[in-house]
Amino acid sequence: MSQNLEIRRSSAAVWGSLSGIRSIPTVAKYVDTTTCIGCKACEAACIEWNDLRRVGTQQTGTYQTLPTLHAEYWNLIRFNERDFDGGIAWLMRKDQCMHCDEPGCLAACPAPGAIVQYANGIVDVNPDQCIGCGYCETGCPFDVPRFHQTTGKMAKCTLCVDRVSVGLEPACIKACPTGCLQFGTKDDMVAMGLRRVDQLKASGFKEAALYNPQGVNGTSVVTVLAHGDHPEWYALPADPHVPLLVKFWKSVLRPLGVVAVFGAVIGAFGHYMNLGRKGVKGADAHDANLPDEISRKGEHE
């Protein structure tokens, strides 16, 4: 399945959608947290393929490699421990860019073309256009993009767009030994996820669910959760959406600002045409013999 890299959405673009000529299926990663064994092969594959080698591990008292994602660590298995009656559960979850259908990073980004969403749904940072302002960090409901100190650009998972575009699966998927990671069209991945959820329900996990949050119109990483009623146990937001204030800022305040800026200029020009200058005739001259009376345009003519 080779992928066309037509752009669906671009940051700071005047028009929302830039594609639509061809029908290109949305792709997605499938993540089954119930069959993940925490081997971190996906982490290793990610740093290998993307050549990210500058971050050491950080001991935080768990098996987790780092406390959070990093500009050079785009794929992190979170080892969430949870006590249950009769034992402990390891709720391992693959933390990475979720490739939202409605990306908050892209909405917040001020640099044209710095964040793009390809027609296949992959959300990618374009380093040529990125100015490293960090607005996307505030726009992202999953706290994913990171500022890279060396390049001065933002960095995050690309969903291996370079592999996907030539018909390969992402590096993390390729490396997974248990098959808990799969890659395909979003429709297929959602269908697979729902089948797995049914299996889990049948085997006693009544609250099992597929995490594909509708607040951002779904994501291109769909995650099977045994405890689907508690996404926060997996360090996932219960109801992620593009921050309301970011939307307000971009879609209400900015247009009002444009009106105010041009309104001030037009208003001043109109004032000048209507009332002219204020001043004693020759008030800026050195000659003290000029008349004293105040002149208003029109009154003396």
Partner: protein, 234 residues
């Protein structure tokens, strides 16, 4: 007579240090120090403005070309903003003594008196060195500069601050910027083409007595009641 012995323009010499004095046919309105501070604020403001606007909206993206592109603007903007705040701080303490508002100014100049002024009606005889509009502008700029600095620091270092504070910072930075732009357009318009004889107070430093009597009658009376200043004859 050689150039070395040519007498200096007395008004220019006096205007280096002194303010509010009559020299020949001119009144010194802003001494050199005040003028330098004002122009420092202006330059840092416009660098901040023109590096910020292309980041604000692609409509103004063309401005970025003057600085070498959007990524250069992103580097310059926060530092220019800090410089603007520092310059504004100097300006604040230079002028705050003259900016205390009377009750009448406080109550009227946000609306009725401002519109009266903008209709070019005869200036209130009680208007001193600064009118109520200028005082409001001064306090708005002071408050706005503080708002821009604080929200700008949060936008500059997002990971050091909580999510909601970051979101509000964009709004505060935007609102302050919008007010600043609207105010600066009118500030420049009133200080140049609308009121002849004003701009020289920020370059040469002086105004004519007629100008002073028209725009700032009380200040005019105060200055002219003082003995005329005689510059040092060398």
């Amino acid at each position: 007579m050689s150039a070395a012995h040519r007498p200096m323009d007395p008004a220019v010499v006096v205007a280096r240090k002194k303010e509010d004095v009559l020299v020949g046919e001119e009144i010194v309105r802003h001494n050199l120090n005040s003028r330098m501070i004002h122009w420092s604020v202006a330059v840092t403001f416009f660098v901040s403005l023109f590096t910020g606007m292309p980041i604000w909206l692609p409509l103004f993206g063309w401005m970025a070309a003057f600085f070498g592109g959007l990524s250069v603007c992103r580097v310059i903007h926060p530092w220019a903003g800090v410089a603007f705040f520092i310059a504004s701080l100097f300006m604040f303490f230079d002028w705050v003594g003259d900016m205390r508002m009377t009750k009448r100014e406080r109550k009227g100049w946000w609306g009725p008196l401002l519109f009266r002024y903008l209709r070019w009606e005869v200036e209130d005889v009680e208007t001193g060195k600064y009118n109520g509009g200028q005082k409001f502008f001064f306090w708005t700029v002071g408050l706005g500069a503080l708002g821009l600095l604080l929200s700008g620091l949060i936008i500059w270092f997002p990971r050091a601050f909580p999510q909601l504070l970051r979101e509000f910072s964009y709004l505060i930075h935007d609102i302050a910027f919008i007010l600043f732009v609207a105010a600066i357009v009118w500030h420049i318009y009133l200080g140049t083409s609308a009121e002849p004889g004003t701009f020289r107070s920020m370059t040469r430093g002086t105004v004519t007595p007629k100008w002073a009597r028209l725009h700032h009658p009380k200040w005019y009376r105060e200055v002219t009641e003082k003995p005329r200043h005689h510059p040092h004859h060398g």
